[in-house]
């Protein structure tokens, strides 16, 4: 793999020339704002008057802020359902899509469509599906003689929005898994068939072990996405002026910064979110060394 693709001489110059804008942007926007957020998290700042040094006060306050703790618990619960959901469902969809069925490109497009549609627009459609008296889902339940469910009321809303988020993420997960699946040599399956292996056996003995790199990658990406999830959740659970019945951490950050003039506290929340994700990533990388099979 390594030979033949190393940039040489003049190519090297162009390589750097082409990468510079991206690196420049990455350095200043990503690292720059990360450092600025870190610095701000130690201050009391309302955006309008000069920031004042606050030490760890913002971090201490986080653990005493019931609204933040609710948001954190919601985010963790959401992540715990969302990540396995996305990985399992998109893997299943990818396995189905990998068969040579007729009209497969239609289904591939259909599953990928949510990834390229505006979240705000699709959330409005989901609102029609989930409506208590006017929703399509309850209409179906009632026509089957079942009790209607208030899908977006506080006790159900978290599950309802998790389903929407998983639905929205299947497309991208499917692409990752399709790439992994097509990379598995056909000979393995042929050999297994000769030995009399059945479909389920082939899946668990060949497919699953060989796509662990894709599973690992997809789990990692989904975890990051889960902690940043905001648009569908906000659109489906917002009420009144800026409130949400399922506040997540990103929502809490936004609200503290822009509505409560608490930029320092919002920064501390953002840093804490980053730390949680970083710790999880560390854990994943450790697990990767133990369980992921690279050919």
């Amino acid at each position: 793999m390594e030979a033949g693709l190393k940039p040489l001489g003049r190519e090297k110059f162009w390589l750097w020339a082409m990468l510079t804008p991206t690196l420049f942007g990455l350095f200043f926007s990503a690292f720059g704002s990360l450092l600025a957020t870190l610095a701000l998290s130690f201050t009391r700042w309302d955006l309008l008057t000069p920031p004042q040094w606050a030490g760890f006060a913002n971090y201490v306050a986080l653990f005493k802020d019931p609204k933040y703790l609710t948001a954190l618990i919601n985010t963790v619960r959401f992540t715990a359902m969302y990540v396995p959901g996305v990985v399992i469902v998109s893997l299943l969809v990818a396995v189905l899509m990998n068969r040579g069925l007729k009209g497969i490109s239609f289904f591939r497009t259909a599953y990928y469509l949510p990834a390229v549609t505006s979240a705000v627009a699709t959330a409005l459609v989901w609102q029609m599906i989930y409506g208590k008296d006017t929703g399509i889902l309850n209409y179906l339940l009632e026509s089957m003689g079942l009790q209607p469910v208030c899908w977006l009321c506080t006790d159900m809303a978290l599950y309802s929005v998790t389903i929407v988020n998983i639905w929205g993420a299947i497309g991208e997960g499917m692409i990752i898994f399709l790439a992994g699946l097509t990379a598995i040599p056909k000979e393995y399956y042929e050999a297994a068939e000769m030995d009399g292996a059945k479909g389920i056996q082939k899946f668990f003995r060949i497919t699953l072990p060989l796509i662990t790199p894709s599973i690992f990658f997809q789990t990692l990406i989904s975890t990051i996405n889960a902690f940043q999830a905001y648009d569908y959740i906000y659109m489906l659970t917002r009420r009144g002026q800026g409130d949400s019945s399922v506040p997540v951490v990103v929502f809490s950050i936004y609200r503290n910064a822009w509505h409560f003039s608490n930029y320092g506290g919002a920064s501390a929340q953002a840093i804490e979110l980053t730390l949680i994700v970083a710790v999880l990533m560390g854990l994943y990388l450790w697990l990767e060394k133990r369980f992921v099979v690279y050919e």
């Binding site: 309302d46 609204k67 009144g240 409130d243 003039s261």
Partner: protein, 426 residues
Amino acid sequence: MKRTLFSLILVLILALTACAQAGGKPAASGGPVEIRFMAWGDPAELEVWKQIVADFEKENANVKVSVEVSDWDSYWTKLKTLLAANTPPDIFAIDAPLYKDYQARGVLLNLKPYLDANPGLLDGLYPVTLKAYETPEGYFGLPRDFQTIVVFYNKDMFDAAGVPYPQQGWTYDDLREIARKLTRDTNGDGKVDQYGFYADLWDMELIWSEGIWAYGGDVINADATRTLIGTPEARKAWKLFHDMIFVDGSWPDANTAAQYGGDPFLAGVAAMTTIGHWAIPGYAEASFKWDVAPMPAGPAGQATSVNSAGFVVAKATKYPQESFNFIKFVLSEKGQTRLAELGFACPVLKSVAESPAFLEQEVKVNHQVFLDSLAFARMKPSFKGYEEWSSVIGDGMSVVWTGEADLDATLDEVVKQADEVLAKNK
């Protein structure tokens, strides 16, 4: 290769010029002065502001005004970012309840010297709208228009039920009774599909401050140190709303209302609502006939909420005089008439509010009600930390309006949290 290098340089040059343009307006001495004005609003409002600016520029040849209009949410984000970067617009729109917050943080210009040089300028304005902008040191802003809350009612629903329209002098008991009469199952499937009343209970402005005042309570004390929404008088109003939703079923709960885009009145499923003049252009598109009536009275009399949008000048402005002149122009008969034509709000200039420009505007309803309501209107409070305080109440109470939490216990908890916000912002 040469071509690539050339395009690369071209791109760089373009990027640099773009930066330079964004960087600023050269303040060449003697040349025309450019001031920036920012407001929230929709495209229709931008058009009206452009007309006002054109009129203003005709009279002030050396001043150019650039107008930026954004939707409500992005407006505040944008404004705060510009203020933080110390490049605020010279003039910007403000909502009265938030005014004291900005003023307390020292980003606004005191207009006192300019007002002193223009005696009598404020004489024609409704005094109650001015009061919101008063501080011990003078005015740091001026109102441009105001909103009183009135009852909007669906005439078709009243006619169909043979119920007389609401009249001046009606009470909250009448409101409850009428709402009950107008709550129906019109298609006979055993479920209510027409409600008597709906108002959003998140913000105080639409119904709950009015109700609390009418029952003899108040929302906050004068120096903004104590939240008063949990007093026995206030609880009478809360209980009325709660009973209408959960006992009478004449007022859809928050989850039901959300299915109708949060506005069951506009959706044609609620017979009455309480809202301000800003709703009129939107309601004009409704497929039913409607009109407006004054707020009902409670045991302590009639009450409504008055709130005004206004202007402030940034302390960091380089052109305070020119900025003030623009505000002065908007407050003149010419400027106020243009704003009245827009149909969103009531003019603060009495002579224009009482003229055909306001009373006989395009959408024909009883606009006089909005002006008459000033007689018993009370100001929406304005203090430092207002937004967080109102969010603590709005968010905290929202579980009551979905039917998930007990009214009295939630009120106790919300008052406690709201008082903590007040203490923090002292």
